[in-house]
Symmetry: C2
Subunit: 673 residues, 2 copies
């Protein structure tokens, strides 16, 4: 291991192999944190969005905050109820993609897949941005450099996932349960202090909040409704990540579906509790919260503008600071668990992305190599792509969750809607054949739940579209369309190839004879081995072929050939212009033309060294030649490797690449060698 390897090890921890994982089917108490971090973490930013939207109409509008909270909670519980049907009906982990594909067809399926891809990118961007924003409340030097910190954090996450970081139950359980305990503990302690009359106001309570331009005086009912609708759809950010469990059913312990459904219910209940706690606390503690780009609407009580460099802390930070005004560790606990769970949520995307990729690859919508383990390149490219786009978004939107969220929710609701619609079709189809009355009753019930779910999510989707389209959702929709088209084209290509490759009625023609040529560049061990191997295959004709640049070297080789009494004829192809590949290809084509029913077998001796930078010094011409010969019909190319000392090193590297842990391995379930 070179210095590079050691420094990587220091930075990124020990390399991991999937074979070290052991049995990883998850009990509910571990599955909840593994799959819930995404959904719960949105509690950290959803309330902020509600207050930002309402603030437009002034403090009086904050009266609506808890009503909007209840509306969001209602949608949340409906969605949870709906997804409980999904996990029973589709326990394979295909999630919304599978539901849509099976029931609504391929196009619906890849629409969902496109939405999920966009969501993964946004999960990273939003979660990390929000995490950094929260960190800013506790760590002063982050303030004012949020973009840089957020981008760096995404890069770090990408690096960890490129290296193969183990998603372990404990890594999720501790911060997730910590976050729950922190927020709910904060709520309880706040309630206790409120009952005692000692609950302090938050730091922004004394500020004066101005209405936004155009909202002065009495505003029309239509404007107010639009405003409430926007606040509601922003609050629906709390729903992101709820669908994650439906993709993770195979990772649950048995009975998988039942456990997943229970976990889902738990998740919903906890998320709603936390969301409502935060909203109610914020309202009662006098929070004033505006769009960070509109800070001038906040003024000191005496009307003076805020001091320069004033930092508006997140809602959760303001509440924690006030509630734990007499117990600072509480504040730091809530804030740090919030930050960690947001990072975990971002990491979720890095793990979900390859899982989705392998499902899409299986169905021919993504490059096929994503479907099997072991393709380092495909995995790495996926992670780098995810991180790069997330960083672009973070930079473009200056790591402001408020602005990123405008892009976020539309994708989630595309999935919700198509999934519920698919479920209704599913039950209807099964009702046609099912005869058992008990089963039929259950199916009717499920269908009713999904129908209600669809109605609810459809309304929300329309609200989201209307209120967010111009604010940024169009970008997400555009990206979905692009992903959709790419997937369609990949599938079309695979279909075309498959059609072309279908075996016809005519039997394949057996080649009548094999003409083998062994390429010789020098007379050394690899050449001798290639000659021996080629001879062992007993071809009809066997020749060695040498491409000669100058007479001197050619004569020397011929002499050595005679000296060693090699009983294979050596043919010299002269190449005055130092070309290697063309003369060989031409010779192969000539042989083939002379005997069209024969096959030309080209043997290339290769030597294998250990370090990749040494490998660059060898076999490059062989590589290029092989690439060219692929286009020559009737030719097959055989590499005869010769392993040099040190090749072990390369083998170990390759083996590690094959067996290492990859993002998504845990939630795919069942890596248990």
């Amino acid at each position: 291991m070179g210095v590079g390897g050691i420094s990587k090890r220091i930075i990124l921890g020990r390399k991991l192999r999937s074979s070290q994982l052991g049995e990883t089917l998850l009990p509910k108490r571990i599955a909840l944190p593994v799959f819930a971090s995404d959904a719960l973490s949105s509690v950290a930013y959803a309330p902020d969005e509600v207050f930002i939207m309402l603030s437009v109409a002034g403090v009086s509008a904050y009266a609506f905050s808890w009503k909007i909270g209840i509306a969001v909670a209602l949608v949340m519980l409906t969605v949870v109820a709906s997804y409980r049907q999904n996990v029973h009906a589709y326990p394979s982990g295909g999630g919304d993609y599978e539901v849509a594909t099976v029931n609504l067809g391929k196009s619906a399926g890849i629409t969902v897949a496109s939405a999920l891809l966009v969501d993964y990118v946004l999960t990273v961007a939003v979660s990390v941005s929000s995490g950094i924003q929260n960190a800013g409340a506790a760590i002063p030097f982050v303030q004012g450099h949020e973009t840089e910190w957020a981008a760096a954090l995404v890069a770090l996450l990408a690096a960890m996932n490129l290296r193969g970081v183990r998603e372990s139950g404990a890594a999720f359980a501790i911060p997730t349960y910590g976050f729950m305990a922190g927020v709910i503990g904060m709520a309880l302690y706040g309630a206790y202090r409120a009952a005692n009359g000692t609950l302090p106001d938050v730091e922004s309570a004394h500020l004066h909040l101005e209405k936004a331009d155009g909202y002065g005086g009495n505003i029309s009912t239509a404007a107010m409704i639009f405003l409430l609708a926007r606040a509601f759809s922003s609050g629906c950010a709390a729903l992101t990540g709820v669908e994650a469990i439906s993709n993770g059913v195979p990772a649950f312990q048995k009975p998988k579906s039942k456990n997943a459904a229970t976990t889902l219910l738990l998740l919903g209940a906890i998320a709603v509790t936390m969301l409502m706690s935060i909203i109610v606390l914020a309202k009662n503690m006098g929070l004033k919260y505006v769009d960070p780009n509109d800070l001038s609407r906040l003024r000191e009580a005496n009307g003076d503008p805020l001091p320069k460099g004033y930092d508006q802390h997140t809602v959760i930070a303001q509440i924690a600071k006030a509630v734990f005004s007499d117990f600072t560790p509480g504040f730091y606990f809530v804030l740090s668990t919030t930050g960690i769970i947001l990072v975990l949520a971002a990491n979720t995307a890095f793990n979900g992305f390859p899982v989705l990729g392998s499902i899409l690859a299986r169905d021919g919508f993504a490059p096929r190599q994503l479907g099997s383990r072991g393709d380092r390149l495909a995995y790495s490219n996926g992670i780098i792509f995810l991180a790069a786009v997330a960083i672009i978004l973070i930079v473009a939107f200056r790591a402001e969750p408020t602005r990123l969220i405008q892009l976020y929710i539309v994708g989630v609701f595309v999935s919700f809607n198509l999934s519920q619609l698919g479920m209704i079709r599913h039950w209807t189809r099964h009702l046609k054949t099912e005869t058992n009355p008990a089963e039929r009753r259950k199916m009717y019930r499920s269908r009713a739940i999904n129908t209600f779910g669809l109605g609810m999510t459809a309304v929300v989707f329309v609200v989201v579209l209307l209120t967010k389209f111009l604010a940024g959702a169009w970008i997400a929709i555009l990206a979905m369309i692009v992903f959709f088209l790419i997937m369609k084209r990949i599938r079309t290509h695979y279909d075309r190839v498959e059609h072309e490759l279908k075996i016809g009625d005519s039997d394949p023609i057996m080649p009548t004879r094999v003409h083998a040529i062994v390429l010789v560049s020098k007379l050394h061990k690899p050449t001798m081995r290639a000659l021996a191997f080629a001879k062992a295959t007993r071809p009809n004709i066997l020749e060695a072929v040498y491409v000669g640049f100058d007479q001197e070297a050619t004569d020397k080789l011929l002499e050595e050939w005679d000296q060693r009494r090699i009983d294979i004829p050596l043919k010299v192809l002269y190449s005055p212009y130092r070309e290697i590949i063309r003369p060989i290809v031409q010779y192969a084509v000539e042989i083939r033309e002379a005997n069209p029913r024969g096959v030309v077998a080209v043997y290339i001796p290769e030597y294998v060294v250990g370090k990749w930078r040494e490998q660059l010094l060898h076999n490059q011409t062989a590589l290029r030649l092989k690439g060219r010969l692929l286009f020559t019909p009737g030719v097959m190319v055989t590499s005869v490797p010769y392993q040099l000392k040190g090749a072990e090193l390369g083998k170990e590297r390759e083996d590690w690449e094959l067996t290492r842990l990859r993002p998504g391995d845990v939630r795919r379930g069942g890596i248990d060698r």
Copy 2:
């Protein structure tokens, strides 16, 4: 051809194949411009450097300008005389590298090679910077953005060379002869106007030139000598590129050496004439010229500072403007040919680089693939490396030729010195065996010339080192050391491998049997072809092997296998974790272990599509598998390609890559298919 191809064609002109070149041995009248552009172009910046250095001691020091010019001319003629010996003694085009290697050993050879590599980079940086500086005199919008323009120009040159731009005689002849005609015409017209008394002063003549800090009052003789030495060594920039002809002897028409020597003499005479013309004109036309970073030393005649944004035009531009004050086209002609010849000089480096690379590769000091045509990657990487480093230098030194030249000259003189030293050894060695008195006389004469040359260049080298080391030459020396060490290491690696691969006394063991396995992913035409080809080789055992992820697909394949009555047994390797590569490698290892004297032949069906982005969708797993199997002893891997419709496209692309014209092809001589 896609849109990309078309737009590239528009930007970069028609693709060229080397086979379109025809006979390209160069007559003297064409060889002169091809090889002289580098040397002549330095006339465009060398005088500027002399005047900048002298200006430090005030206008009075300008009296030394023509004396320094004569000193430089003397060195130039000495070097030319020396190199005339080189081209006779070493007509193979190896140039200084060959002379040093043959006579002084490998280390001297790669020292020269390192110096040349550094010089190529600096040729690009200096020439382009100077070209842009000259362009600034005629094109106002370039002023103030020299760095950006210079970097863009280097990028453009790199793009053209990546694409394969033909170095044609005409492309060199017209601007080079134009430049000669322009400068010499300017000198003659200037002389004519001087004789008439109508020669105007240059634009900077009326300015007041202040001495630099520390040079006020009377300066010591030592300081004055140091100053003159610096001016002289800066003026020696005019010598860069003189050695180019010695690398290009094979491209000359016969008698090659004689023609090359004559061309060299012509080149020297022309360069000296041009250099002296410019210096004398500048002196007599009252030029005031300072370091562009020290412009404040120039003042208006009344002592006022220069107007803000004053642009100090190059010496050649100032002279041309004044001489052709009554004939503006003359000014533009001189300036544009100057600009073009500087760009040609930069392009020279892009052409010389691969030639040097192939010579180094032949000797094992550079990756071997550089030694043969057809390795696109190696060539492209070389060009990109050259351009990238040149751009870094341009940006770091803000495209100021004055500062870049501090790095430039040391490398040139390293080559000069080692080359002359080698030549002396060469003659001494030959004198030991030569008996013909006429030949001996010639050799004595040649040795005397080289000895004088060495004495001269050694003195200049010391002067350059002393005056330039801290000003930037240390960077060039450091870079040379790095190149030197890399080349040493590459050679050591190749030597080690060669030693390890040497055939011992024991005969290679003939494998007793061949166990062939054909990998099957589906039952389609490529699989059938691979089975047929494998069968044609009549191995001792032949099996088809399938890696199964799930029972359903496996059963389907087995059924189809039976239906088609394929008479080859199908073995299924189960892989619950969707791994493909490991089970196959393990199976191959098992077979080999069971029969250590046998060989395992793995046949992989591959399908070949036309477009590279389609290729990304296929065979990636095959590629990775092949990479892994290389490390497995006793295994050979055979690709059986199946060409799909559209594969023609890919073949054409590959063929074009193999036959296209590459930088350096012309000056290597003899591409005459």
